[in-house]
């Protein structure tokens, strides 16, 4: 058994799969950094991702354009997030409850829309999904090339978004506003920042990112839509954000860790290895709790995390 595992072929396939499996989580967790930094914990991301997956698939199916599919996912994600923003910012509802509702609603609505269009029992409709783009020269490097430079476009884009997200949050006025609103909304308000507006914007960006994460699943990783296409990835993204302590680069490592755990599990099962891999799958969740303990002790949470802001209350 170990002879099967300790081969370059196995390692390359595991690491390449790690990057693929990390991508949807990375998209969504990068988006969730905006929301959580602005003070809003969105547990509805599971629903937003599913909405993204179904929108991408339907648009791509009927227009034959993957890029229009992506656009559909982004718009769907944004629209869906506006409901979450309305509940948590305007209605000042409890975010845990609102997020739970959004998850149930998003998954249900996606499945309903898909069924209403494609029917209940028909074979799953399929599309031509995003194909691998081999980056010239780089992909010819032995081992490294196969792991890093032989992926579809969305994967490269997700990793590019790490840099973009970092730039927006750390180097722009808008990023500063987001952090101010999440840290101390009253102070931000007194400086003339519109707290509600910034929170709406943060959640809409989050929705766009999560929509892309969902789109990746239906039109890049797979070429069809199923009800259970997201299966917990939205919740994992929330965990990754906490694990990453609201930092884009660390979110990348967090997403890769989850990717590695699932890639190893899939590959080990494929070669029939008799290793109880459940503990491996458990590991990222245990690590997230451990990181959370460290974060909470040092009070690194955004100051107004999960707290609605009202000008009236003191």
């Amino acid at each position: 058994m170990w002879d099967d595992i300790l081969t370059t072929g196995f390692l390359v396939s595991v690491l390449a799969a790690t990057i693929r499996l990390a991508t949807p989580i990375l998209f969504t967790s990068l988006g969730a950094i905006y929301g959580q930094r602005s003070g809003i914990l969105n547990l509805g991301l599971e629903g937003t991702m599913t909405i993204g997956a179904v929108c991408a698939f339907i648009v791509a199916f009927f227009t034959n354009s993957l890029f229009l599919g992506l656009l559909g996912a982004v718009l769907g994600g944004i629209l869906f997030s506006v409901i979450m923003a309305w509940l948590s910012v305007t209605m000042k509802a409890n975010q845990v409850i609102a997020g739970t509702a959004m998850t149930i609603l998003g998954v249900g609505l996606s499945a309903f829309i898909y069924r209403a269009i494609f029917g209940i029992k028909s074979l799953p409709a399929q599309i031509e999904s995003f194909q691998q783009i081999r980056i010239p020269l780089l992909s010819d490097i032995p081992i490294v090339g196969k792991i890093f430079f032989d992926h579809n476009l969305l994967i490269y884009f997700a990793f590019l978004l790490v840099v973009i997200t970092w730039f927006v949050l750390e180097k722009t006025v808008f990023g500063l506003k987001i952090k101010a609103v999440g840290e101390h909304p009253r102070a931000a308000d007194s400086k003339g920042i519109n707290v509600a507006k910034v929170r709406y914007q943060s959640l809409m960006i989050e929705g766009a990112y999560a929509g892309l994460g969902g789109a990746f699943m239906s039109i890049a990783y797979m070429n069809s839509f199923t009800d259970s296409i997201i299966t917990g990835r939205g919740f994992i993204a929330v965990a990754v954000v906490v694990f990453a302590r609201w930092h884009p680069t660390r979110a990348m490592w967090g997403a890769l860790l989850y990717g590695l755990a699932s890639a190893l599990q899939i590959r080990l099962q494929a070669i029939g290895a008799e290793i109880p891999n459940q503990f491996l799958l458990m590991l990222p969740y245990v690590l997230t709790i451990i990181v959370l303990i460290g974060v909470s002790k040092k009070a690194e949470f955004p100051g107004a995390y999960t707290l609605p802001y009202s000008r009236m209350e003191r």
């Binding site: 914990l41 547990l43 629903g47 409901i83 509940l87 209605m91 000042k92 509802a93 409890n94 845990v96 409850i97 609102a98 739970t100 509702a101 959004m102 998850t103 149930i104 609603l105 998003g106 998954v107 249900g108 609505l109 996606s110 499945a111 309903f112 069924r115 209403a116 029917g119 209940i120 009800d227 917990g232 919740f235 929330v238 965990a239 906490v242 109880p276 459940q278 503990f279 799958l281 458990m282 969740y285 245990v286 997230t288 709790i289 959370l292 303990i293 909470s296 002790k297 009070a299 949470f301 995390y305 999960t306 009202s310 009236m312």
Partner: protein
């Protein structure tokens, strides 16, 4: 006195009823959009849930774990502890209680109470762990209970694929069956409804009494704000752990009920998302035990009837999920409107009158 109480109870049912009616109405619109007849759909849904003794039994079988878990969740929620880990606590309760049933060689009359207690302890430990992490490190319980759900799921998968797998099960991921004498009694051989329903109803009564006890009152008081409880001399940290233990313990008992009453063994997907649904039920029931009892019955009917509806009409089952999601959204917007806007509105009017 008696009359006003009844009036009050009826008055508190109205908002929930209206919530459901609006959700069903929007569901009906979606059904029309998908080109089907909503009246026909809801008739079949109703028939599917209550159309025969067998169907009523199925609805009750589903309502039992949902009700117990929602009661458990309500204890945490009243304390403003957002326990979303009911699935994990349910799973641990199931693991603990089944282990007692298949590994302890004791007389049956002893095994029943011990397994029941074991289920409570399993769930309580899983819940209290999150409570302790919050009390000790201020770790957000939403994230920890969510993580503990996944950890519990993988623990269960490990057990049914590994050390607890049925040696005569042809490699299926499931444990051996509980000995026959340990199955909760059935009402009739044709239906699955079991004596666990009495346990569920007893728990419902117990929770009603609990809210009248000093401890229950303290938990509620603490949920209303830190300052209040500090003045009342409540040890907030110890309370957090206790609340989560009680909440998780009840969810663990739901696991016992499901194993000893329905499955008689562990499999990989026993919790199957009951936890999320139980949150919806607890909220629709306004965290009130009787309200929870009624709404768990309603949602169980929706689940069971929804399957029939999909089979007979081709309307996707997911309409049931949509209705659930809408119900919570309406409940929270109603609360928000009640609390904030209405108060502000009256303040404004009051203010104007004052000026005038």
């Amino acid at each position: 006195m008696g009359k006003t109480r009844i009036k009050k109870a009826v008055g508190s049912i109205w908002p929930a009823a209206i919530t459901i009616i609006i959700a069903l109405f929007i569901g009906a619109i979606l059904i029309v959009i998908s080109g089907k007849d909503p009246i026909d759909a809801y008739r079949l849904l109703f028939n599917g849930a209550f159309g025969s003794a067998h169907k009523i039994s199925e609805t009750l079988v589903k309502a039992i774990p949902l009700m117990i878990m929602a009661l458990g969740i309500s204890i945490a929620f009243k304390n403003k502890m957002w326990n979303i880990g009911a699935d994990g606590q349910f799973t641990l309760g199931a693991i603990f209680s089944l282990s007692v049933g298949i590994y302890l060689k004791l007389p049956v009359w002893l095994l029943f109470p011990i397994s029941f207690l074991a289920a409570f302890i399993g769930g309580a430990l899983w819940g209290a762990l999150a409570g302790w992490l919050k009390a000790k490190f201020n770790a957000n319980e939403v994230i920890t209970t969510l993580m503990l759900n996944y950890i519990a799921t993988y623990l269960l998968t490990y057990l049914v694929y590994g050390p607890m797998m049925d040696p005569e099960g042809f490699g299926f991921p499931q444990t051996p069956l509980l000995p026959e004498g340990l199955h909760l009694g059935l009402f009739s051989a044709q239906t699955r409804i079991h004596m666990g329903i009495f346990v569920a109803l007893a728990l419902l009564g117990l929770v009603i009494l609990f809210w009248k006890s000093t401890l229950g009152y303290k938990i509620e008081l603490m949920g209303q704000g830190e300052q209040v409880s500090r003045y009342a001399g409540i040890n907030a940290k110890r309370m957090m752990i206790l609340v989560m233990a009680l909440s998780g313990g009840l969810c663990g008992i739901a696991g016992w009920n499901e194993i000893y009453g329905v499955h008689y063994r562990l499999m990989t997907d026993i919790a199957s998302g009951y936890g999320t649904l139980a949150i919806v039920i607890a909220l629709l029931g306004n965290l009130n035990p009787v309200g929870i009892g009624v709404s768990s019955f309603f949602f169980a009917a929706l689940l069971v009837g929804g399957n029939t509806m999909q089979r007979m009409t081709g309307i996707p089952y997911s309409i049931v999920d949509i209705i659930q999601g809408l119900v919570i959204i309406f409940v929270i917007t109603r609360q928000a409107i009640n609390l904030e806007s209405v108060r502000m509105f009256f303040k404004k009017i009051g203010g104007k009158q004052h000026v005038g």
